[in-house]
């Protein structure tokens, strides 16, 4: 039996996802609502953690953004992302995680395109915003809907 890390967090999150899915009429809207939720708690995270101390004041290059992502991962999940890819696409950074915290043991059928872990997009987007980085973050792949790995795209503005 797989051991679920942080069941309290997951139960809360599953509750929110259920609620959002019951209130929205399409997948895009649900994804957006999860991102909005993430943006709202992003502020709390920024205030309550040592992300500020551990990152540079001026985040300008993609290397800085990738460093920041690693710090956020360390602070939130106490681990490193599986990969942070800055080279394949210009103007965006891709984060992949093959053991994402949010969608542990979640199996969704027939819901392709839904980003179960979109909350993290919102969290990261808001943290980047506090660091004055204009970026759009969205989930590209999600293990909950059948992918092998969770992938987020950070598109820098």
């Amino acid at each position: 039996m797989p051991k679920i890390e942080n069941p309290l967090l997951l139960s809360f999150y599953a509750y929110y996802v259920d609620k959002i899915l019951s209130e929205t009429s399409n997948i895009d809207e649900a994804n957006q609502k999860l991102r909005d939720l993430g943006r709202e708690i992003g502020q709390q995270i920024y205030l309550n953690t040592e992300i500020v101390e551990k990152t540079k004041d001026n985040v300008t290059t993609r290397e800085d953004v990738s460093k920041l992502i690693e710090v956020v991962y360390k602070v939130l999940y106490n681990k490193k992302p599986t990969d942070v890819d800055m080279k394949t696409a210009r103007g965006s950074v891709r984060i992949s995680d093959n053991d994402c915290v949010w969608c542990q043991e979640v199996n969704l059928e027939g819901m392709r395109g839904f980003g179960y872990c979109e909350i993290f997009s919102g969290i990261l987007e808001s943290i980047l915003e506090f660091k004055s980085v204009d970026a759009k973050v969205f989930q590209e792949m999600c293990r909950a809907t059948g992918a092998d790995i969770c992938v987020w795209n950070v598109r820098l503005g």
């Binding site: 019951s22 394949t88 043991e105």
Partner: protein
């Protein structure tokens, strides 16, 4: 898109220390060039060949000057020829500056056939980008269609059709026309959806519903729905029309994605399930909710939950899905 590209390239054009430049495909075919000496192309191509995938920033010292090669993305390489006396570091910095300008621009892949170094190529690139973006931004995808359909009033718009993940599309009168490669309908579809349209239509056989089409293609359900709605306006496929007065389904069931439920599914060995529990576990096929199972067995819900929890370690999973 091409405005940004032009701006980035014009930065090079008006730089006194730049003798010429060329935007090349990944195999080293010049696509857009400006004053780049032809005799240098073979040399640049050789260098690209040498590194192929691993090409990062590279400099080549030639008798014409200093050439800096740098990949823009997977498909494109920017090649700049600087005056010979320019410092290497400055040349690299200048190239990086232009790359930074290119960063926000998503360049489409090069067309299969093109005239090398032609000035009109910039427009070619622009038109590909326009098509590509109309495919990538799924919500916007049907907009060119709805525009055209509003122009000719008797045509149907994609919104006239009611399509949900559980809808099973069937082939329409123009189905085969859309799949024949020399038809107008095919080229229209290819223009808007590229090969995606063809792939989806191949799976329309009257038995697959949209959910399973999207699943087998690893594509978002919404994208498939968009395409099929478009297909319905062109009589390529047939799906139910949106009926006036059925609005209540929209609010009641949570609209087009349907109602989200979690259904237990048992994938373990049924022989390990003890006596009374078998009645519950046997119903865990991933299609019924806990409530439905409770109803079918006549047991209270807490009892069902108790039993489900007991079998998690033996292979019971909760499957989330949307039902209509």
């Amino acid at each position: 898109m091409s405005k940004d590209l032009e701006r980035a390239l014009s930065k090079l054009r008006f730089d006194d220390q730049v003798l010429g430049y060329s935007l090349m495909t990944k195999v080293g075919r010049p696509f857009v060039s400006f004053a780049f000496p032809d005799e240098l192309f073979p040399r640049v191509q050789n260098s690209i060949q040498l590194y192929k995938k691993d090409l990062r920033l590279m400099t080549i010292d030639t008798d014409k000057g200093l050439v800096v090669l740098s990949p823009v993305d997977d498909n494109w390489i920017l090649t700049v020829l600087y005056v010979p006396e320019l410092q290497l570091g400055l040349a690299i910095a200048k190239t990086k500056n232009v790359l930074r300008l290119l960063e926000g621009i998503e360049l489409p892949p090069p067309p299969e056939e093109f005239d090398e170094s032609s000035d009109s190529n910039l427009q070619v690139l622009e038109s590909i980008a326009v098509n590509a973006s109309s495919v990538e931004d799924t919500p916007d995808a049907p907009s060119p269609v709805s525009e055209s359909s509003s122009a000719t009033t008797e045509e149907l718009s994609p919104d006239d059709f009611s399509v949900s993940p559980s809808t099973t599309p069937i082939r329409g009168p123009d189905y085969s026309k859309a799949l024949s490669l020399n038809s107008e309908l095919y080229s229209e579809m290819k223009k808007i959806y590229r090969n995606f349209g063809f792939d989806v239509l191949m799976l329309v056989d009257g038995t697959n519903n949209i959910e399973s089409i999207a699943d087998s293609m690893f594509q978002p359900t919404d994208r498939v729905i968009d395409l099929l709605k478009w297909g319905a306006t062109k009589s390529i496929i047939t799906v139910p029309r949106f009926q006036e007065g059925t609005e209540d389904t929209k609010s009641g069931d949570g609209g087009s994605i349907g109602r989200y439920v979690k259904c237990p599914k048992f994938e373990g060995n049924l022989s390990k399930v003890s006596g009374d529990d078998i009645n519950i576990i046997r119903l865990c096929d991933g299609k019924q909710t806990q409530e439905q199972i409770a109803k079918a067995t006549g047991l209270p819900i807490p009892r069902v939950v108790q039993t489900l929890a007991k079998y998690r370690k033996l292979g019971l999973k909760m499957i989330g899905r949307t039902i209509k």
